[in-house]
C-alpha cells in the first residue's frame, strides 16, 4: 500500500538506490580482501572507465525512459573515434573544430534515428538496429580494417588533465550527468519524456509534440555516444572499427541495473550512474581473480538476471 502510494519518479529512485548499495558493498568487501583495490587511484580508475559507459548510458537512459531503445550507440562511438582524425583540418590549432564537427556528425546520426522513430513511426529497435548495421558497413568501407591514430590537442588535454586529483574525464561525465538530471527532473520537457514513454497516445492527445520530444531524445543519445567515443579515443590514442562494440550491451545493462524499467516511462539517470560503476567494478573484480572472458560474460549475464526484479515486470498478461 505504501509503495503503491509513492509517485512514479520516486519509485524509480528507490530502485536505483539498490545499485548504489551493491556498489558500496562490493567496494568495501573487495578493499578488505584484495590488496590495492581500495586505493584512491584504483577507485578513480574504475570511475574513469565507468565514465564512458555512463556517458553512453545518458542516451540509453533517455531512450528507454522515452519508451524506446538505442541499439546504435556502439556504432556512433566507433564513428566518432574514426571520423575525428578525418575531420581534422589545418588552422584548427586547438582541435576543437574537429571535435565540434565530429559531435555534429554524431548528433546528425541521432537525428536520423529520431526522425525515423518519431515522424515515420518505425519501431526504435528496428530503426536503431538498422542504423547500427548500416554504420558498421560504412565504417569498414571508409576506414578499412586499420586503426587510425589521432593527435588532437584538445583531446590530449582531456586525457591528461586532472583537477584536484580528479581527471577531466570524470569531471566531464559529472557535468553531463548533472545536465541530464536537470533535464529529466528539473524541467517540464523532462516530465514529457516520462509521459511519452508511459503512453504516447495519451501524450499526443494531451498536446505533447511526441515526435519532437522523440527527436530530441535520440539527438541527445547520438551526441552523448559521440562524446563517449571521443573520450575513448583520448584514452586509447587510437580509433578502430569495433572500438565501440562492448558499450552497446553494457549501456543497456547499466540502465537496467540502475532500476530503469525497460518498458519505458519510469526510472532515472541516477540509477544508471550506479549501474555503470557497478559494471566496471564487476569487470575489475573478474580481472583481479583472473577469470576468463567466458566467466566475465556469464557473471555479467547472471548479474543482470539477478537484478531483473529492479527493472519492473510486464504487468500485462
Amino acid at each position: 500500500m505504501r509503495a503503491f502510494a509513492l509517485p512514479m519518479a520516486l519509485r524509480g529512485f528507490g530502485r536505483s538506490l539498490v545499485a548504489y548499495g551493491v556498489v558500496a558493498l562490493l567496494w568495501i568487501v573487495a578493499s578488505a580482501l584484495i590488496e590495492g583495490f581500495g586505493v584512491f587511484a584504483h577507485l578513480r580508475y574504475i570511475v574513469e572507465l565507468a565514465a564512458i559507459i555512463g556517458l553512453v548510458g545518458v542516451g540509453q537512459t533517455l531512450a528507454v525512459i522515452g519508451g524506446g531503445i538505442d541499439l546504435s550507440v556502439s556504432a556512433v562511438i566507433t564513428v566518432a573515434a574514426i571520423v575525428l582524425p578525418m575531420l581534422s583540418f589545418a588552422g584548427d590549432a586547438t582541435g576543437l573544430g574537429a571535435i565540434a564537427l565530429t559531435l555534429l556528425v554524431a548528433a546528425a546520426i541521432g537525428a536520423v534515428n529520431g526522425l525515423g522513430i518519431g515522424y515515420l513511426g518505425l519501431p526504435p529497435l528496428i530503426m536503431t538496429l538498422a542504423m547500427a548495421t548500416i554504420l558498421q558497413g560504412l565504417l569498414v568501407l571508409i576506414a578499412g580494417g586499420s586503426a587510425v591514430s589521432v593527435d588532437n590537442p584538445a583531446l590530449n588535454w582531456l586525457g591528461n588533465t586532472h583537477v584536484l586529483g580528479i581527471s577531466a574525464t570524470i569531471l566531464l561525465w559529472a557535468i553531463v550527468a548533472a545536465a541530464t538530471l536537470f533535464w529529466l527532473h528539473g524541467t517540464r520537457a523532462g516530465a514529457l519524456i516520462y509521459a511519452i514513454g508511459t503512453n504516447p497516445l495519451t501524450s499526443l492527445l494531451s498536446g505533447v509534440r511526441v515526435a519532437r520530444v522523440t527527436l530530441g531524445l535520440y539527438v541527445a543519445s547520438g551526441l552523448c555516444s559521440g562524446v563517449a567515443g571521443l573520450l575513448l579515443l583520448a584514452m586509447n590514442g587510437q580509433g578502430y572499427v569495433g572500438i565501440g562494440d562492448p558499450y552497446l550491451l553494457s549501456s543497456i545493462a547499466a540502465v537496467v541495473l540502475g532500476g530503469t524499467s525497460i518498458l519505458g516511462g519510469a526510472g532515472s539517470y541516477v540509477g544508471t550512474i550506479a549501474g555503470a560503476v557497478l559494471l566496471v567494478t564487476m569487470t575489475a573484480l573478474i580481472t583481479v581473480v583472473n577469470a576468463s572472458e567466458g566467466w566475465r560474460q556469464v557473471i555479467l549475464g547472471c548479474l543482470i538476471l539477478g537484478l531483473l526484479p529492479l527493472s519492473g515486470r510486464d504487468q500485462s498478461r
Binding site: 516520462y194 501524450s203 499526443l204 498536446g207 516511462g265
Partner: protein
C-alpha cells in the same frame, strides 16, 4: 440465500484491490432457465463479481458454489469445463486470427491432438447463422467493425455450449436489429434451461426480459428480488439510493449569438460534408449510433486525425484560424481542448500521479520551462478542489475510480483556458453521482462563455443538456435538432436514418 437448484452461485464473497474493498459479503445464485439481471453503477463491483464467477479472479473470502458443491476459486479452464461462458465487455478476441479460430479458441474440437478444422467449420457455420454473422469464417476478426466483433464474441460464448451464460453489456455496441436478434437468442437459451446473468445499463432492456435482479451498490447487495412490479425509476432508486429526478441540472438557454467556430464541408475519416456553427456559451450535442462518423468528426476538429474543410473559421484566438488543425498541440494553442472517451488508453497516464496528469497539458504547451514544484502543487490542488477530487494528489491516477479519473481527464485542460471543449462521451462508465457533477461542470463552463461539443452515447444527456443536437448517420448529419425538438424519439429516429424526425414508429 435461496441457492436451491442454482447452477452457479457465490456465497458471501469479498474482494479488495490495494486495500480498497470492491465486494463485501456478496451472494448471488444463478438458476437454470432464468434471466438474472445484475445492476449497479460503474464501480459498484459488477465486473469484479463477473470475474469471480468466471474464474478470472479468486475471492479473498467466501465460496463459490457450482451445482451445490463449494469451491474456493475457479480457473478459466475450470469455468469452461463447468459450462460457464462470458460475453466480455472488453473484447477478448485475437484480431489477427480468423472468426472461426476466435470462436473456437481454447475450446476447439480436436483430432489426434490437433484442431479439427472441419469440425470447427461445421459448428461455426451453424452458430454464425444463429447470431446473424454473415462474414466468411476465415476473415481475420480485426477486419470487422466493433458491432460485428461483438457478435463474434457472442458466438464464441455459445460455442462452449454454456450452462451459465454471463453477458456483460452485450448491447453497448450493437445496432438495433442486432439487439432484437440477441434478445430473441437469450430467450431461446433461457427456454433451453441455461442460467443467464445479464448486465446492461439500458433499463428498458432489463425490464423487458429479465426476471430477477440483483443490485450492487458500493460493493454490497442492496436488492435481490424478482423484477415484477418494478419500474425504471424504481430500478434507478435501487442503484443510486436516491431519486434520479435531479440528475440533470435544469435546462437554461445560455448560448449567445457570437459564433466561435464555423465550418462547411468538413471531412475527416468517414465523416464528410459536415456543416457546423458553434456559438459562445453553447452546448452542442453529437448523437448517433456508434461508428457513424461523429467520433472522427470530433478527432478531425481536435487535430488528432487528418481533416479537410471547404470552409473553416475559428474566431477565438487573436487572429482567426481558417484551416483545420494539423496536430493536437496546434489546436490546443488555438484554444481547443479534446477529452477522449477511453480514459485508460487515451485520456490519462495511468501509472503516473494525479498531479502530473493534471499538469500535463500545461507542460506540453510550454515545455521549455523549469519545474516549480510549489506552484505545481498549488495549481493541481486548486483543480482538484474545483472538481472535488479528494485525497493525496501524488497517488497514481489508476488508484482512482472511473468517475474520478474522468474528472481528472476533464480538469487537466482548465489551466489552458480553452474556449472550445470537445468531449467524447465523457460519462461513459461513470457513476451517477459523478455524472451529475460533470453535467454541472459543463453547464458552468458554458455559462463562462466556453463552447462545448458533447459527443454522447447516452441519449438523455443529449436531450436534457444540449442547446442543439447534431445526429450522425452514415458519416453525415442526419438531423440538427434544437432543444425541445430533440426528444429521445427524434434523436433515435434520425440515428436510424429515418427521413423525418417525426416518423413515429421507432424500432426499439
Amino acid at each position: 440465500m435461496s441457492a436451491a437448484g442454482a447452477i452457479l452461485g457465490a456465497r458471501s464473497v469479498s474482494k479488495s484491490f490495494f486495500g480498497n474493498p470492491v465486494l463485501r459479503d456478496v451472494s448471488i445464485a444463478l438458476l437454470p432457465g432464468r434471466i438474472h439481471a445484475l445492476l449497479g453503477e460503474n464501480g459498484a463491483g459488477k465486473s469484479t463479481l463477473i470475474n469471480l464467477l468466471s474464474g478470472t479472479l479468486a475471492p479473498d473470502a467466501g465460496d463459490l458454489e457450482v451445482d451445490g458443491d463449494r469451491v474456493a476459486a475457479l480457473a478459466p479452464r475450470d469455468a469452461r469445463r463447468l459450462g460457464i461462458a462470458v460475453v466480455q465487455q472488453e473484447l477478448s478476441l485475437a484480431p489477427h486470427l480468423s472468426i472461426a479460430e476466435n470462436i473456437g479458441l481454447g475450446a476447439a474440437p480436436r483430432r489426434w491432438g490437433m484442431i479439427d478444422y472441419r469440425g470447427l467449420a461445421a459448428r461455426v457455420a451453424a452458430l454464425c447463422t444463429g447470431v446473424g454473422l454473415t462474414e466468411p469464417p476465415e476473415l481475420p476478426v480485426g477486419r470487422l467493425p466493433l458491432g460485428r466483433r461483438q457478435l463474434v464474441e457472442i458466438a464464441k460464448a455459445l460455442f462452449r455450449r454454456p450452462r451459465v451464460l454471463i453477458l456483460d453489456e452485450p448491447t453497448s455496441s450493437l445496432a438495433a436489429p442486432d439487439v432484437a436478434m440477441l434478445t430473441a437468442l437469450v430467450r431461446r437459451l433461457r427456454d433451453q434451461g441455461v442460467a443467464i446473468l445479464y448486465i446492461s445499463h439500458r433499463l428498458n432492456e432489463i425490464l423487458d426480459f429479465c426476471e430477477h435482479v440483483t443490485v450492487l451498490k458500493d460493493g454490497a447487495v442492496t436488492a435481490d428480488r424478482p423484477l415484477a412490479g418494478l419500474d425504471p425509476l424504481g430500478l434507478v432508486r435501487l442503484m443510486v439510493g436516491r431519486d434520479p429526478q435531479d440528475l440533470f441540472p435544469p435546462y437554461r438557454a445560455q448560448a449567445t449569438a457570437e459564433t466561435v467556430l464555423q465550418t462547411n464541408g468538413f471531412r475527416s475519416g468517414t465523416a464528410s460534408g459536415i456543416d457546423l456553427t458553434l456559438h459562445r456559451g453553447e452546448i452542442l450535442g453529437l448523437g448517433g449510433l456508434a461508428g457513424q462518423g461523429q467520433e472522427e468528426f470530433l478527432l478531425g476538429l481536435a487535430g488528432a486525425a487528418p481533416a479537410r474543410a471547404a470552409q473553416f473559421r475559428m474566431t477565438t484566438g487573436a487572429k482567426p484560424r481558417t484551416a483545420p488543425f494539423a496536430g493536437v498541440a496546434e489546436a490546443n494553442a488555438a484554444g481547443l481542448a479534446y477529452v477522449p472517451a477511453d480514459r485508460k488508453r487515451e485520456g490519462l497516464l495511468q501509472p503516473h500521479s494525479i498531479r502530473l496528469n493534471l499538469l500535463l497539458p500545461g507542460f506540453a504547451a510550454h515545455p521549455v520551462q523549469r519545474r516549480r514544484r510549489a506552484a505545481e502543487a498549488a495549481t493541481s490542488a486548486e483543480l482538484a478542489g474545483r472538481f472535488t477530487i479528494r485525497g493525496d494528489l501524488r497517488r497514481p491516477v489508476q488508484a482512482l475510480s472511473g468517475g474520478n479519473q474522468q474528472k481528472v481527464a476533464l480538469a487537466k485542460w482548465l489551466p489552458l483556458a480553452p474556449s472550445i471543449l470537445l468531449l467524447n462521451d465523457p460519462t461513459r462508465g461513470v457513476d451517477v453521482e459523478t455524472k451529475r457533477e460533470i453535467y454541472l461542470a459543463l453547464r458552468a463552463m458554458a455559462a463562462e462563455g466556453k463552447a462545448v461539443l458533447l459527443l454522447s452515447s447516452d441519449t438523455p444527456e443529449l436531450v436534457h443538456l444540449c442547446d442543439r443536437v447534431m445526429v450522425f448517420h452514415d458519416g453525415r448529419v442526419a438531423a440538427l435538432l434544437p432543444h425541445g425538438a430533440a426528444t429521445e424519439e427524434a434523436i433515435v429516429a434520425a440515428a436510424l436514418g429515418l427521413a423525418a424526425p417525426a416518423a413515429a414508429s421507432v424500432p426499439a
